[in-house]
Assembly symmetry: C2
Homo-oligomer: 238 residues x 2
């Protein structure tokens, strides 16, 4: 939530938004081997100058999912991205001015598609590596930690990690993504053997260009198998 | 929600509850090899005479978790039970009279401990087998289906299924629990070997009494290992 609940009561009535319930979103990106989170610096209200998760109000006539998509579109300009609800965060003291329950979401963004949209109400927007996350407003550190545990759990069961990678990627980039999210080190030949066996990847018969090291083969993932596995659920055992 | 949102606005102000956000709870029990759900028949309001999930309002000064525990205590008289949030259900048309978002929870109850508490406002309360679930009010069938998918997923990763069994149980009862929740048939010797290997169970050196068939050995689960596995997360592969 980037504004002040009490100051905005009038705005809320005018925009026909729900009071006492908001949405906050953890946006994950993956850049140069690091998992990053998009944070916004609040421009006004009691949290002015502090970083927090992007979020906002829910209009009375839109679903919570639609509200989350709208907020992300307003922030990133992206229409199609991976978005899922985490859960509701309902500690009575989580917001200092009033009782506000927030519904947490998380999104996975391909950094190559990401474009920050001008005109967003936050004064500043930035990507932060996990180890550089500052002290966030309200319970946003707690929501962020929950989302990371959830993401770790989800990428073992569904190949949603591909939503963080460019369209064409190397096996090493894919392995680094899993290593970074799960916080473990993997054995490259072992990873290569297991991931190719899943038949999730399409060999593009292309190689990296403009790299100083030996160019590696590029892959994309097979959307049909991806959807089948996502629906059915499976287990990545590395 | 067992009452009518509009009729109760006055009650809400008096009890200092939040408006436009409620809690609904899927309570699972396990009886004679069948997974069952506790439903309440609504005594008043627009849904009078229809079955639905037990639920209610959130007080302004209690957390959503505390509200869910309170509602379950009011309904079942039980203080200690397994309870987890599912997610928020936020379709704008889910409740016909007003915009109300509900936070879904699910609870696992040992039927031997369960006692229906008198004085609950619903006119009737009953356990329903999954195949006998009637057409429920609002989006409660959707919440119930979501909770079942969630439960299937969770019992593969954490030994939470024990919360549905009596303190002392046979291996066959445990296998039937997994078969019923996962909707699959299992091989008994295979199940026996795998579950004993996990060292989750304590052999009580006791046998069933008063059964017509050959009395089977009784087990309880080892609470220490249970908590370790629940925290760490693991995978039941049957």
């Amino acid at each position: 939530m980037h504004k002040d609940a009490v100051n905005n009561k009038k705005d809320l009535i005018e925009t026909d938004a729900m009071t006492s319930i908001t949405i906050d979103c953890v946006i994950f990106g993956f850049q140069e081997g690091s998992l990053e989170i998009l944070l916004v610096k609040h421009a006004e209200g009691i949290s002015k100058g502090k970083w927090g998760l992007p979020g906002g109000w829910i209009k009375k006539k839109e679903s919570t999912d639609a509200a989350a998509y709208r907020l992300l579109r307003e922030l990133t300009g992206l229409d199609k991205l991976f978005l899922e609800q985490l859960k509701a965060f309902g500690d009575p003291d989580r917001f200092p001015l009033d009782r506000v329950i927030t519904i947490g979401y998380y999104a996975l963004v391909k950094r190559e598609n990401y474009r920050l949209k001008a005109g967003f109400t936050a004064s500043e927007v930035g990507w932060f590596k996990m180890k550089d996350i500052p002290d966030l407003i309200y319970d946003h550190n707690q929501i962020l930690n929950f989302s990371l545990r959830h993401l770790r759990n989800r990428i073992r069961q569904a190949p949603i990690g591909f939503n963080l990678l460019p369209e064409k990627f190397t096996l090493l980039e894919l392995m680094h993504l899993y290593e970074e999210i799960l916080g473990i080190e993997m054995d490259k030949p072992n990873f290569r053997r297991k991931i190719l066996k899943m038949k999730l990847l399409r060999d593009l018969n292309e190689k990296q260009v403009g790299v100083s090291h030996r160019a590696a083969k590029l892959y994309s993932f097979d959307e049909k198998i991806y959807h089948k596995l996502t629906e059915k659920g499976f287990n990545f055992e590395f």
